[in-house]
């Protein structure tokens, strides 16, 4: 019997292949050559992501001509949904690489391994967003997660980092098992793991022929797995510990790229594959959203460590994104499905930039204070590093959703969708949670601006590349806040999925 491989559109896959190739090259060349000149690894990583981004942009145009298709025998989706998320992830990865250089340079961990792992993790994340087959999605998830477990534990000098990696590994493995079991049950109910085929089954089979109990159980387990990855309440308990313990540059990656990948996967599973069960999963999303919003922002307020605060605030942001998914769930699968998915993707991309900037500032402060990221380490930052303080303020105001920042555009987008779908209750809860969250950001700002530097505080050294990355992130935050129209019109076509 002759085995016929599926047709492969190499060009459409090139953004992913570039990333894999870049990771392999860094590993192999890095191992074979002597120590690289300063900053070269970071810039190589940035170059790889840039090359991948250029290819993704070409593919984006390509889709404009030929429409969304599937790749490799329907395993991957070639649509603007995937590419939009991928471009956001590539940007965030490049910023994280720059921050990583500032964090590692001169230390014993400096070397190509960390960067190779970052590229690998980003590839996994991109594959998750582009998966049109649940098994491929799982592969992407594992590629991302395994790289992240190692990255979280990568700071060998600190036991906190190892503890963080271990926690993430054990709980993440647990969540992956849920996810896999969910796929199995869904397969039992629909006789396929391909999103295209699942959708087709629902369209052609009458309800009586489907095994809905298995499908629903499968959806529930998939939701648990994904809710863990996006750290939605009540599956969030790992995130403060892991965020705090992991090196700040890795935390920035988790909170931006990792979160975006999990949310993109959630949209693929719920909105693209299972719109027929939207009335079943939407209430669950509602509960997750409200719980994340309220508990995330309330617990954030009582923290004393800035990284932990940002961890809880990222739980609250996950709640906001879930509000968008809830809105997208009202008319999922219909011809006029609303723009909930667009709002969610815009939120993911903008939040990714914001959070990398915020943790970037945290890396600088932590380095200047022996790894201390408590609120008191930030005290008087404005007198020591005024420009850094301004950047941090921009990020915090944006996270609080103050107008003329990208955070406001992101929040306005999801709330707009919720209100358009008449989910008034969740919209009001979200806005009130944002007020609680604002108190948290004010607390950090008070520390930065209004408290004096402690006696004998040394002025933090800002590594050039970290400063550059923070500057870019702040610039994007303000620019999108003032002129969001281009991003919104660019993202209009993301809800034309391939399946």
């Amino acid at each position: 019997m002759l085995f016929l491989g599926p047709e492969v559109d190499w060009f459409a896959l090139s953004p992913y292949l570039t990333m894999v190739g870049g990771a392999l090259m860094l590993m192999v060349v890095g191992a074979l050559t002597s120590r690289w000149p300063r900053g070269l690894t970071a810039w190589t990583t940035v170059a790889v992501t840039a090359a991948s981004a250029v290819l993704a942009l070409l593919a984006w145009n390509d889709i404009g001509d030929s429409g969304p298709t599937t790749l490799v025998g329907g395993a991957m989706a070639h649509d603007r949904f995937a590419l939009f998320v991928a471009l956001g992830m590539l940007g965030a990865t490049a910023l994280v690489a720059l921050i990583t250089d500032g964090e590692l340079r001169g230390g014993e961990n400096d070397g190509p391994e960390i960067y190779a792992l970052l590229l690998t993790a980003a590839t996994g994340a991109m594959v998750m967003a582009a998966a049109n087959e649940l098994i491929v999605m799982f592969l992407g998830l594992e590629t991302l997660s395994l790289a992240l477990y190692v990255l979280a534990a990568s700071d060998r000098r600190r036991s906190g980092s190892q503890e963080s990696g271990m926690k993430y590994f054990v709980l993440g493995g647990f969540a992956s098992a849920f996810f896999l079991y969910g796929i199995a049950l869904l397969y039992g109910g629909t006789r396929s793991t391909s999103i295209s085929e699942i959708v087709e089954r629902f369209q052609t089979t009458v309800a009586a022929d489907r095994n809905d109990a298995l499908v629903l159980a499968g959806v529930a387990l998939l939701l648990v797995g994904l809710a863990f990855k996006v750290s939605a309440v009540p599956f969030h308990v790992w995130s403060p510990d892991v965020y705090q313990g992991a090196p700040s540059n890795v935390t920035a990656f988790m909170a931006s790229v990792g979160k975006a990948a999990a949310f993109a996967a959630m949209l693929r599973v719920l909105v693209v594959a299972l719109p027929f069960h939207r009335d079943d999963w939407r209430p669950a999303i509602w509960v997750l959203a409200v719980a994340s919003l309220v508990i995330g922002s309330v617990l954030a307020v009582v923290q004393t460590d800035v990284k932990r605060m940002l961890a809880y605030s990222s739980v609250s942001h996950a709640g906001f994104i879930l509000v968008g998914i809830e809105a997208a769930g009202h008319r999922a699968g219909e011809a006029d499905a609303g723009s909930g998915v667009q709002a969610v993707l815009v939120y993911l991309v903008l939040y990714g930039v914001l959070v990398v900037g915020s943790f970037g500032v945290a890396t600088v402060v932590a380095r200047g204070n022996d790894g201390d990221t408590s609120l008191s380490a930030f005290a008087g930052l404005a007198t020591r590093r005024p420009t850094l303080a301004v950047a941090m303020t921009v990020f915090l105001l944006a996270q609080a959703g103050v107008p003329l920042t990208s955070g406001f555009v992101a929040k306005w987008g999801v709330i707009q969708e919720a209100v358009a779908e008449r989910s008034y209750a969740i919209a009001i809860i979200a806005m009130l949670a944002a007020v609680i969250g604002a108190f948290l950001y004010l607390r950090i700002m008070v520390s930065v601006w209004l408290q004096p530097s402690p006696d004998g505080a040394t002025t933090e050294r800002v590594p050039a590349l970290t400063g550059f990355a923070i500057g870019i992130a702040a610039l994007v935050t303000v620019a999108i806040g003032v002129w969001p129209d281009w991003l919104l019109s660019v993202s209009e076509s993301v809800s034309a999925y391939a399946r």
């Binding site: 107008p403 306005w412 709330i415 009001i428 944002a434």
Partner: protein, 526 residues
């Protein structure tokens, strides 16, 4: 950004009013910290230029038109139906001029008290940014744009109170920020709901344009009421109306003097202005329906504010509570739904800005001299600083509402205009006028009368710079009090247009007042 650039080509007046102070803030922020003397000059220059543009707008304002003038409209976020739409009518005109005049005075009148002159830089930058935000709020004719400005003013004010305020500043600044933000949360959802419900009821598309929404959309009574309440919560917090006023005394007392002047002078008016522009105009039915609630809260505010002011030991807190009472009058006039009362309200917004702004300025001067605001620490200042006392007396009498000064015209119009539609509320509110005389005169007596003791004997007289700062305030107080006609005839057409809009939508018929005579002999009313 693009909207700003394209609109700058044709010299749009109102856009300039917003961008001039914003650009000034940017320039101040980029100046070297080592030359603090340039900062004040730059800030002053930017704010004086803005003030000049606002006065130029006043000169070119067509007094006989009730519609929006100097409008400019440019697409901003087209995907969401949002445009950079500015316009000015008789209701916003004087608030804009007040903003333009008050900021340079606040900048020149009193310096931030801090030991490090390098810290002046953010102070002036924040003040100018605040001016841009306030201007934007008064000029926006797009719900999104209004919300952006309404929210953005919180940030500079937060930093002004938190950075240059007095002992309890961080608490007061945070309280101020969070209170206002809770209100805004409801308004944001309400704005979005308004837009989407309007799309389904008459408009057929998503637009945030105020005029299109108000003229084109119709809401079912119950829907309109919910939407109105969402807006009203935000405005009530900002005004502040009685049960949600508690942020105000803290914020006012802790803010630096310039902050208090601006807060009382123009920022509180964002609330009362919002009620008129967005409450009554967008949801006339709901505003009519809920008027008893607002009238009652307004009257409670008048009485409560006055009684609380009487009991204060801190001079600044006293003025703060008097604001609660004064703004009660403005809300009373707004929800009386007569042309006279609303005209009086608009006028009183300006009057309160002038007189309370001046009061805060003078309390700040007292603090600079004596480093205390406690009434019990001050005595007999009249003997050592008679000019200062005279200026204080004039401002105080204006605040009480003595005939011949500006406060009287506004309060009188509100009371007489409201009498036709809200008789019993007015009866109670009128006692507030007497209480105002009580708390202010009593405070004056304790601070300025009597024999000065050891500490107060060295109280310096009014300096030239201070006198020059106060002079415009005193001039406006006397001029508007004696000759309010130019102001009233510019406000009235816009107010009449608003009342007409309410009548069209709700079938409400404005009761016609009998002719009344204002003190200058000018005939008011029909």
């Amino acid at each position: 950004m693009v909207a700003a650039m394209t609109s700058a080509v044709a010299f749009p007046l109102l856009t300039t009013l917003i961008f001039l102070p914003a650009a000034g803030a940017l320039v101040v922020a980029m100046l070297s910290s080592r030359r603090p003397e340039y900062m004040k000059m730059t800030a002053l220059l930017a704010s004086v230029a803005t003030g000049a543009v606002s006065i130029w707008a006043l000169r070119n304002f067509d007094a006989h038109s009730g519609g929006f003038q100097f409008t400019s409209q440019h697409p901003w976020i087209e995907s969401w139906g949002i445009s950079w739409h500015l316009g000015m009518d008789g209701i916003s005109l004087f608030l804009v001029v007040l903003t333009g005049v008050l900021f340079p005075l606040a900048i020149v009148g009193i310096d931030p008290h801090n030991d490090d002159p390098a810290r002046d830089k953010p102070y002036f930058a924040w003040l100018l940014l605040l001016e841009a935000g306030v201007m934007g709020s008064f000029l926006s004719l797009d719900l999104f744009l209004f919300f952006v400005f309404f929210e953005i003013v919180l940030v500079p004010m937060y930093f002004l109170i938190g950075g240059w305020g007095y002992e309890g500043r961080v608490y007061a600044a945070t309280k101020f920020f969070l209170y206002t933000m809770v209100g805004s949360a409801f308004m944001l959802v309400s704005i979005l709901a308004t837009v989407f419900i309007a799309r389904a009821n008459g408009l057929g598309r998503v637009t945030f344009d105020l005029i299109e929404l108000a003229e084109g959309a119709s809401f079912a009574a119950s829907t309109g009421r919910w939407l109105f309440m969402g807006f009203a919560i935000a405005f009530a917090v900002k005004v502040p109306v009685f049960p949600v006023h508690t942020w105000l005394p803290d914020a006012h007392t802790q803010a630096p003097t310039a902050g208090s002047v601006v807060l009382a002078g123009v920022m509180l008016k964002l609330g009362t202005y919002g009620f008129l522009r967005f409450g009554l105009y967008l949801f006339p039915e709901a505003a009519r329906w809920s008027r008893s609630l607002w009238l009652t809260l307004a009257v409670i505010g008048i009485i409560y504010g006055a009684i609380a002011a009487t009991m204060q030991k801190d001079l600044k807190r006293l003025v703060a509570y008097s604001s609660v009472a004064h703004l009660g009058f403005i809300v009373l006039g707004t929800f009386a739904f007569t042309s006279q009362a609303i005209t009086g309200s608009v006028m009183q917004m300006v009057n309160h800005g002038v007189s309370t702004g001046a009061l805060f300025l003078m309390v700040g001067m007292i603090y600079e001299r004596r480093h205390t605001r406690q009434i019990s620490d001050l005595r007999g200042i009249q003997h050592v600083a008679p000019v200062f006392a005279a200026a204080f007396t004039l401002v105080m009498l204006s605040s009480i509402g003595v005939p011949g000064l500006n406060g009287f015209v506004g309060e009188y119009l509100i009371l007489i205009g409201s009498f036709l539609t809200a008789r019993w509320w007015v009866v109670v509110a009128a006692t507030g006028v007497i209480l105002a005389a009580l708390y202010l005169l009593w405070a004056y007596q304790r601070v300025f009368h009597g024999e000065p003791d050891e500490d107060n004997r060295a109280f310096p007289e009014l300096r030239w710079r201070e006198a020059m700062t106060l002079l415009p305030f005193l001039g406006i107080i006397v001029f508007t009090g004696v000759y309010p006609k130019p102001m009233l005839e510019r406000i009235e057409p816009a107010v009449d247009a608003l009342i007409e809009h309410v009548s069209d939508r709700t079938g409400y018929v404005e009761p016609q007042p009998v002719a009344v005579v204002v003190d200058d002999g000018h005939e008011e009313g029909e």
